[in-house]
C-alpha cells in the first residue's frame, strides 16, 4: 500500500473501441504530477534492458486473462520495434513466480535478472470495459522497493486491447527516450485481395480498393467500396482522412474519404486526369498531378478544392509530388531530362532543382524531422530498389538490394522506418524496415498490395 501511494500517477486515458481512434489524452485535473521524469538508462550507453512479464489479470476470468496476454505480447513487440530498449527474452525469466498485484512482485528475484527496468501491469475487467495499470520500475535503484520511472492508468472499452499496449509503448518511448513512437500509426494502401472484377469493361480487370492496417500488420480493413480502380492513398496529417485517386467516374479524380465520419469529398472535378495527391504538413492543402491544362503538371489546391495553383510548367511529365515537413518545398518526379528523376520546387513554384542522378528515379517521400532526407524508388537492374538521399550532403544510401523489385517507399512519422512494396515473397506485398534497411517485416499477405502510405 505504501508503494502504491508513492506512485504518483493520476493520468487517465480513455480508449474507445473499434474504428474510433484514441482522442488526445486529457488528464482529469491531476492533483499530482502526471508525468514522472525518471529515466532508466542502460549500462555504458547501451539500450536499457527491459523485462516485460505477463500482465496480471486481476479478474481471473478467461477473457481478462486473454486480454492480459495480448497486451503483454503487443507491448513487447512495440518496445522491440524502435530498438531503443533491449527486451530480455521471456523464457529467461519464466521461473520467476507471477505476482497477483503490485503488492507482491518478487523484486529480489527480478534483481537477479540484471535488467535495468521491469514493466508490471494489471488488467481488471469492469462492468463497462477495462481498467489497466502499468508501471516501469527502475531496477538499478538501491532502494528496497524500486521506484517507478513511469506509471499510468487507462480505462476504456475492451474491444481493442492492442490499442492499450500501443498507447503504453508510445508513452514509454516518449517519457524514457524522448522519442515519438509509431505504435498507434497505421498504413493505408491499395489491394486487389478481394478478387472483384471491374464492371463496364470488356477486358478482365481486377478492382483495387483502399485498405488500412495497424503499423504492425493487424486490423486490416477496407475503406472503399467503389468496385473501381482506387490508387495512391495518402493519410491526412491528423489521420482522420485519406486522399486517393479513383477511376470510379471513368477519368481518375482525387477523392478524400473521411474514414471516421464515413463521408466522401471530391477534391478535383475537372475534365483532366488527376493523380497522386499529397497533404501539406498542416493538412490545409494538397498537391497533386493533373492534366487539366493538357500536360501532366503539379498543382496545389486548398483542401476543399478551391484556389488551385499550378507549380510546374514544362512539356515533360511531372507527377507524384510529396510535401516537405517544413511545408515550404515539394519534391516530385519529372522526366524533363529524358528519364524520370526527383526534383524539388518551392511551394510557391520557385527555386526548381534536380535532386537525383539515377538511371530512373520515382515516388519521392520526404522524411519527417530530424532526418533531412528523401526516399525514392531507383532502378538498379531489371527491378527497382529503395534509396535515400540526404538533402544536406546529397549522399545516397541504398536500403534494398535486388530481392524482388522494391517500390513506393513511405516514411513513418518519426523518420525511423519505411514502408514499401516488394515482390521478394512472390506477389507484391507491403513490408516495413528500419531506416538502415534492417528489421524487415511483412505487413500484408493477401492478394497483391501496393503504394503504402504511413500515417503521421
Amino acid at each position: 500500500m505504501r508503494m502504491i501511494a508513492a506512485v504518483a500517477v493520476a493520468a487517465f486515458v480513455t480508449l474507445r473501441a473499434g474504428a474510433q481512434p484514441p482522442p488526445p489524452a486529457v488528464p482529469s485535473a491531476p492533483q499530482q504530477p502526471s508525468e514522472i521524469t525518471t529515466t532508466i538508462t542502460g549500462e555504458g550507453g547501451a539500450p536499457p534492458r527491459l523485462a516485460v512479464p505477463e500482465f496480471i489479470a486481476l479478474t481471473r476470468d478467461a477473457e481478462t486473462q486473454a486480454i492480459a496476454r495480448t497486451i503483454t505480447r503487443v507491448l513487447f513487440d512495440d518496445l522491440t520495434f524502435e530498438r531503443e530498449f533491449a527486451l530480455v527474452p521471456r523464457d529467461i525469466y519464466s521461473t520467476i513466480p507471477a505476482a497477483t498485484g503490485f503488492s507482491d512482485v518478487p523484486f529480489d528475484r527480478w534483481r537477479e535478472l540484471n535488467a535495468d527496468g521491469l514493466i508490471i501491469g494489471t488488467v481488471q475487467k469492469l462492468p463497462a470495459g477495462l481498467r489497466i495499470e502499468v508501471r516501469l520500475f527502475d531496477m538499478r535503484s538501491r532502494q528496497p522497493l524500486p521506484p517507478s520511472a513511469f506509471g499510468k492508468e487507462y480505462s476504456g472499452s475492451a474491444a481493442n486491447p492492442r490499442l492499450y499496449a500501443h498507447t503504453m509503448a508510445d508513452e514509454i518511448h516518449q517519457s524514457q527516450r524522448a522519442l515519438r513512437g509509431v505504435a498507434r500509426t497505421k498504413l493505408t494502401f491499395n489491394s486487389d485481395r478481394d478478387g472483384e472484377r471491374m464492371t463496364g469493361t470488356i477486358e478482365n480487370r481486377s478492382v483495387k480498393e483502399i485498405y488500412i492496417v495497424d503499423y504492425d500488420g493487424e486490423n486490416q480493413r477496407r475503406v472503399t467500396v467503389g468496385k473501381s480502380l482506387n490508387i495512391t492513398p495518402t493519410w491526412s496529417p491528423d489521420g482522420r482522412s485519406i486522399a486517393y485517386s479513383s477511376y470510379r467516374r471513368g477519368q481518375p479524380n482525387i477523392f478524400i474519404s473521411n474514414i471516421y465520419q464515413g463521408t466522401l469529398e471530391e477534391l478535383t472535378k475537372t475534365a483532366g486526369n488527376n493523380f497522386t495527391p499529397s497533404w501539406s504538413p498542416d493538412g490545409t492543402r494538397l498537391c497533386f498531378a493533373s492534366t487539366r491544362d493538357g500536360n501532366m503538371e503539379i498543382y496545389v489546391a486548398n483542401r476543399d478544392g478551391s484556389n488551385v495553383r499550378r507549380l510546374t510548367n514544362h512539356p515533360a511529365s511531372d507527377i507524384t509530388p510529396t510535401w516537405a515537413p517544413s511545408g515550404t518545398q515539394i519534391a516530385f518526379t519529372s522526366d524533363r531530362t529524358g528519364t524520370p528523376q526527383i526534383y524539388i520546387v518551392g511551394a510557391d513554384g520557385l527555386g526548381l532543382q534536380k535532386l537525383t542522378s539515377e538511371p530512373y528515379a520515382d515516388r519521392a517521400t520526404w522524411s519527417p524531422g530530424p532526418f533531412n532526407e528523401v526516399a525514392y524508388t531507383a532502378r538498379t537492374g531489371p527491378g527497382n530498389d529503395i534509396k535515400v538521399i540526404s538533402l544536406a550532403t546529397r549522399e545516397v544510401r541504398q536500403l534494398t538490394f535486388g530481392e524482388g523489385t522494391n517500390e513506393s517507399p513511405s516514411w513513418a512519422a518519426n523518420g525511423r522506418h519505411l514502408a514499401y512494396t516488394s515482390t521478394r515473397s512472390g506477389k507484391t506485398q507491403i513490408f516495413t524496415m528500419a531506416r538502415d534497411g534492417k528489421n524487415l517485416k511483412q505487413i500484408t499477405r493477401l492478394g497483391n498490395n501496393y503504394q503504402p502510405d504511413w500515417s503521421r
Binding site: R205, T232, T333, T339, P340, R363, Q451
Partner: protein
C-alpha cells in the same frame, strides 16, 4: 529440295491436263453431231393441263381491306444500312475491337511506323462512324514504377490522340486516360508479355 521438285513438275502436269481437256472437247463435238443427225421426227405440241381452281371450292369473299400503310421509318443517315458494326451494342463493338491497339517501345511514347499504320486504319474507321467517341487508354509494362507509369501511360494515350487528330479526327471525340501498369493485357513477366502491355487501347464510349 522437295518443294523445288514439286514446282518443276508443275508445267508437265499442266500440259497433261490441257491435253485431257482438248480430247474431251472433241469427243463432245462428235457426240453432239451424231445426236443432231439421228432425230428425224418433228416435235408435237400438246395442250397443257388447266391450272387447279381452288377458289371454286369455297364461297366467294369480299376483297380484303387494304393493308394500313406503314409509317415510314427514319433511316439513320450514318452508317450505311445492313452494317453489322452499326447495329452492335457498345460492349459487342468493343469486344470485336474495330479499332486496333497501338504498341510502343520500352519507356517510350513515340508513335513508330507500325503504330502509325494502326492509327491510320483506326482513323479510317473513325471517319466512317463520325458519331463514335473514343477513350484512348495508355498502358505500360510492369518494369517501370507504378507512379511514373501513370505519366508514361498518359503520354502514350496523348501521343495516339495527337496522331489521330493530325489525320483529321476531331480532338473532342477522343478522350485520354492513363492506367499506368494497373491493367496488363498479358500477365506474363517476359518481353513477349511486356510488348503486348505497352499499348494504347481504344474503347468506344458512345456511338
Amino acid at each position: 529440295m522437295k518443294h523445288e521438285r514439286g514446282v518443276r513438275l508443275q508445267p508437265d502436269q499442266e500440259g497433261v491436263f490441257t491435253m485431257t481437256i482438248r480430247s474431251a472437247v472433241s469427243i463432245l463435238l462428235v457426240l453432239g453431231f451424231t445426236v443432231a443427225c439421228g432425230s428425224k421426227t418433228p416435235p408435237v405440241a400438246r395442250p397443257a393441263p388447266p391450272p387447279p381452281t381452288i377458289a371454286s371450292a369455297e364461297p366467294a369473299r369480299p376483297p380484303a381491306p387494304p393493308e394500313p400503310v406503314a409509317e415510314p421509318t427514319v433511316v439513320p443517315p450514318e452508317p450505311v444500312p445492313g452494317d453489322s458494326i452499326s447495329s452492335a451494342s457498345l460492349d459487342d463493338l468493343n469486344r470485336s475491337s474495330p479499332l486496333k491497339p497501338v504498341f510502343f517501345d520500352y519507356d517510350s511514347a513515340e508513335v513508330a511506323a507500325p503504330a502509325q499504320a494502326a492509327l491510320t486504319e483506326n482513323a479510317a474507321v473513325l471517319k466512317r462512324y463520325p458519331a463514335w467517341t473514343v477513350t484512348i487508354e495508355g498502358h505500360c509494362d510492369e518494369r517501370g514504377t507504378a507512379e511514373y507509369n501513370l505519366a508514361l501511360g498518359e503520354r502514350r494515350a496523348v501521343a495516339a490522340r495527337t496522331y489521330l487528330v493530325s489525320l483529321g479526327i476531331p480532338a473532342d471525340r477522343l478522350r485520354t486516360v492513363s492506367y499506368g501498369k494497373e491493367f496488363p493485357f498479358d500477365p506474363g513477366h517476359d518481353e513477349a508479355a511486356y510488348a503486348k502491355n505497352r499499348r494504347a487501347h481504344f474503347v468506344i464510349t458512345a456511338k
